[in-house]
């Protein structure tokens, strides 16, 4: 057991990028070597692949695509420059911070700079908008899904009555109902949030329900034997039993919610522009292909960060006792 803890401690040192060599409490070199293996340090595999892809990219641009059509695959350094460097000033970045602050703190003010036209600043503001939409959507979905799962876990009848409709919500192609949502709820923030809720509700509800019902038979007997009330059983047995499945589902749902926010932003452009709106705008102008690539890159980063964050959050809550890694 101490062995395991040491490995984990060493691993987190390594992840934090500590300048010293990652070391376990007793500084055993074997453990350091094991860390290295687990996280791929000292093996250049991923780097080699990355360099090859970039090489292939340049080769494709110059050797495969006709000169007149090269705008469809702009070069990596052009994307980097246009998307992330050109025209970026400290003041612009400060604007982004100010905008975030004004959204989070009720009395903070934000005056957008109307003349500004910097891709990165637009991208970051769009990213922020998408984060807001997907976060609100995810929280609402989690709330309704968990309450729904708790109710369903209490009665087989309720579960049987509602579960088919959960599956239907899941089965409806979200793109097919997006226009409908717009017509009914308008083309702004709330419609985008609703798309997120619809897309991320099912995995949370289904997994949490499964988790609530997953407590071992013997433990259920033990609670019955000692006349535990439904509520006691829920709090002390079912909810802890559901946590691993819940966190796994949050990780899946968070990724889906980001997709929902981008799809929502793509269709509903009223109000602040999210990543979806930016993608749509850049895609409509061939000269903006580098910006389009940069925005795709930002969207991917958001998806990856959200995935890692919920994995980390889950492990923080249940890692020390659950066999399951989220």
């Amino acid at each position: 057991m101490t062995d395991l803890r040491d490995v984990d401690a060493g691993a987190s040192n390594a992840l934090a990028g500590a300048p010293t060599l990652p070391r376990s409490a007793d500084g055993a070199p074997v453990l350091v070597a094991r860390n290295a293996k687990r996280f791929g340090f000292g093996s250049f595999g991923p780097l080699v692949v990355l360099v090859s892809i970039i090489g292939l990219w340049y080769a494709t641009h110059y050797l495969v695509i006709d000169e007149g059509r090269r705008f469809i695959l702009p070069l990596p350094h052009v994307i980097l420059n246009r998307g992330f460097i050109e025209g970026v000033t400290f003041g612009g970045l400060l604007d982004v911070g100010q905008k975030m602050l004004s959204d989070l703190v009720p009395f903070a003010e934000f005056e957008p700079d109307a003349d500004r036209d910097v891709v990165l600043i637009d991208g970051l503001l769009g990213l922020w908008m998408t984060v807001k939409v997907s976060f609100v959507g995810l929280m609402l979905a989690a709330f309704f899904a968990v309450v729904g799962a708790m109710v369903m876990s209490q009665s087989r009848m309720v579960e049987k009555a509602f579960f088919p409709y959960l599956v239907i919500i899941q089965a409806v192609p979200v793109l097919a109902i997006v226009p409908l949502i717009g017509v009914v709820f308008g083309f702004g923030f709330s419609s985008q949030v609703i798309v997120c809720v619809i897309i991320s509700f099912f995995p949370i509800a289904a997994n949490t329900l499964f988790g609530l019902k997953s407590a071992e038979r013997g433990l259920q007997d033990l609670f019955a034997l000692h006349n535990a009330s439904r509520w006691t059983r829920m709090r002390k047995l079912q909810i802890p039993a559901a946590l691993p499945a819940f966190f796994t589902s949050m990780r899946i749902a968070a990724g889906l919610s980001v997709i929902g926010a981008i799809v929502g932003g793509y269709f509903f452009a009223r109000g602040e522009k999210g990543l979806g709106s930016l993608l749509k705008a850049y895609a409509s102008r061939p000269s903006d292909t580098p910006e389009l690539f940069a925005t795709v890159f930002l969207s991917s980063m958001l998806g990856i960060i959200v995935f890692l964050f919920f994995g980390w959050l889950g492990n923080r809550f249940i890692g020390k006792w659950s066999d399951q890694t989220v």
Binding site: E216, G218, D221, L222, A224, L225, H226, L237, K320, D323
Partner: protein, 260 residues
Amino acid sequence: MEPVQELIDLTEPKATGSPALVFDGVGKTFPDGTEALRGVTFDVNPGEFVTVVGPSGCGKSTLLRLASGLDEVTAGRCDVDRSNIGYVFQDATLLPSRTVIGNVELIAELHGDSKAERRARSAEAITKVGLAGFENHYPKQLSGGMRMRASLARSLVMSPPIFLFDEPFGALDEITRELMNEETLRLFKEEGFAGLFITHSITEAVFMSTKVLVMSGRPGTIVDSFDVPFDHPRSPEMRFDPAFAELSGRVSHSLRGAHA
């Protein structure tokens, strides 16, 4: 084999006061029509450790579910004070999200005992089962034997006058199982509870018990009874004693008869 004849032999009244547990002509037929038990009659008196051996699926575990009130009898009568029963399940059945001490205090917690009181009693029970120092470990950090010890401690906290054991050590390796047998026996003597133990291991049955009952296949009923005369404390070497082997042989013979 004449089950009816055997039953009459078994209902002989015991000299000691009122029994901790009485099965009187108990039958259990499940809603799907399966008859699991028929005419089961025996007592467990204070100071007795009774073991039921029988083929798989003969309804041994059902016996404990009926005794504890988890299931209802469909014939006969089962008398036991249900307010305080120790029940040790086939698996350790610990809450994975709680540490050893959190698990051990669970039953006291369900009965509404104050935090300070149940902490103190849990710490004591943990010491009794030899888990001191592991209070703050999670179940996944423990071996199978240690988990079973935690499970025992959880029931010990309430000092129940009767313990029901549902093949608790079946999943352990042999040496761990023998150690747990000895530990349980020590607790049985120290704590003075009555025990009803289910197993399909003859060695375990003879080593642990004051009395071994043999159960037939479905519908399960008691077909034979063996008093185990060996004194306590029982040493691990007792398993290699000729008298032990002789008694085990007789139980085995009876069990083969019950299988047929």
